[in-house]
């Protein structure tokens, strides 16, 4: 019995800062929600964007994620890391959007219309030439297509692993599967990507 109490206390002490902020949101502190929003807005939008590959839709879905977090504040219990809960909502919404087939509405990617996608670090020295921009856009499109062709769960796992630097155990909690299943998903996904992007890889290795 005492051991059980100690375990609960230990778990409570191990609460991450985000979970503590969320508990304050539960108690009516909107400033804590603003902090959470500032901290996690970009990762959530980034992740959803890479899932659905549509800037406008990704922002709409990311807003829905935070809206659901705010709506659920009254019943929030820190049973897992806050980011696990956040990304589970984000993944759920993104997968539903993909499965609904709403992504087949002509693929009007707003970010495709502009030509300012090139990362700043590549243009630090001088303005990129037209050729450099074209090469960059081609490479970017191939990467996007290669990821878009992955099965949904593999895609989500790769995006969380590669871009959000999440651990296997957390990805497993988000995708509601075992850690070994996540490792298997990732191994197969990277295997596919290695095959699809092999022709680009030689130029990418430093």
């Amino acid at each position: 019995m005492v051991q059980g109490v100690n375990t609960i206390t230990g778990a409570a002490q191990a609460l991450d800062l985000d979970a503590q902020l969320m508990l304050r949101v539960r108690d009516g502190d909107d400033d804590s929600f603003r902090l959470l929003l500032e901290k996690h807005r970009s990762p959530v939008i980034r992740f959803v964007y890479r899932m659905v590959q549509d800037q406008a839709i990704s922002e709409e879905l990311a807003q829905e994620v935070f809206l659901r977090v705010y709506r659920s504040r009254a019943t929030y219990e820190p049973t897992a890391r806050f980011t696990t809960w956040l990304f589970r909502i984000a993944t759920h919404l993104a997968l539903n959007w993909l499965r609904d087939g709403r992504n087949e509405r002509g693929h009007q990617r707003l970010d495709d219309e502009g030509d300012g996608d090139m990362p700043v670090r590549e243009v630090a020295d001088r303005k990129p030439s037209v050729e450099q921009r074209m090469v960059y856009q081609t490479r970017l499109q191939e990467v996007r297509d290669a990821i878009a062709l992955l099965p949904e769960k593999q895609r989500a796992a790769v995006l969380m692993h590669k871009y959000e630097e999440m651990e296997y155990v957390q990805i497993a909690q988000v995708l509601e599967c075992s850690e070994s299943a996540v490792k298997s998903l990732l191994f197969r996904a990277y295997e596919t990507l290695r095959a699809r992007l092999a022709h680009m890889a030689s130029g990418a290795v430093r």
Partner: protein, 165 residues
């Protein structure tokens, strides 16, 4: 060190190494292994190449008014009627469970009706001029009886003549 590629449980070592997330001790062991393992060496080279290729994809930053729009939605949701909230939650794929639910309700309702046929008014068999088959039989029987009585009446006077005076 056993070859990580040979066992599924250890394949993540190679991914972790490529991602730079392997601790120094295990990284050193793996490096020592790859010096003598062509398969692992090739795997790591290919994985490192893909890893850096994926770096090319940097998403655009969020809109400047993202927070303002979110707070607008939060304020609107706070004052919205319950059905509006329901519709909003169904917009993003939440409607999908409705289909199995609807099918389940239909199946249950169908089973209930099959188990309780009395609940549905029974359709009576068609009858001629509003008379049921049983009534027609009864009428025919009555007519036969009347005819039999008449025959008996017609036979009765002749039998009286045989009586002794």
């Amino acid at each position: 060190m056993n070859c990580p590629l040979q066992r599924e449980e250890t394949q993540d070592l190679l991914l972790d190494y490529s991602a730079g997330r392997l601790d120094a001790a295990r990284a050193a062991m793996l490096e020592q292994h790859t010096e003598n393992c062509a398969a692992c060496s090739t795997f790591l080279a290919d994985q490192a190449a893909v890893w850096s290729t994926l770096d090319v994809w940097e998403p655009m930053p969020a809109s400047m008014d993202f927070n303002r729009r979110l707070w607008q939605r939060i304020d609107a949701a706070a004052t919205a009627p319950w059905y509006r909230t329901l519709v909003d939650s169904l917009r993003f794929g939440g409607w999908k469970p409705v289909f199995p639910l609807a099918v389940a309700i239909l199946v249950i309702a169908g089973g209930f009706l099959m188990d309780h046929p009395g609940g549905v008014p029974a359709v009576s068999p068609p009858t001629a001029q509003g008379v049921s088959f049983s009534e027609a039989d009864q009428l025919e029987q009555t007519l036969d009886d009347i005819q039999l009585l008449r025959q008996l009446d017609s036979v009765a006077p002749s039998s009286d003549t045989t009586k002794p005076m």
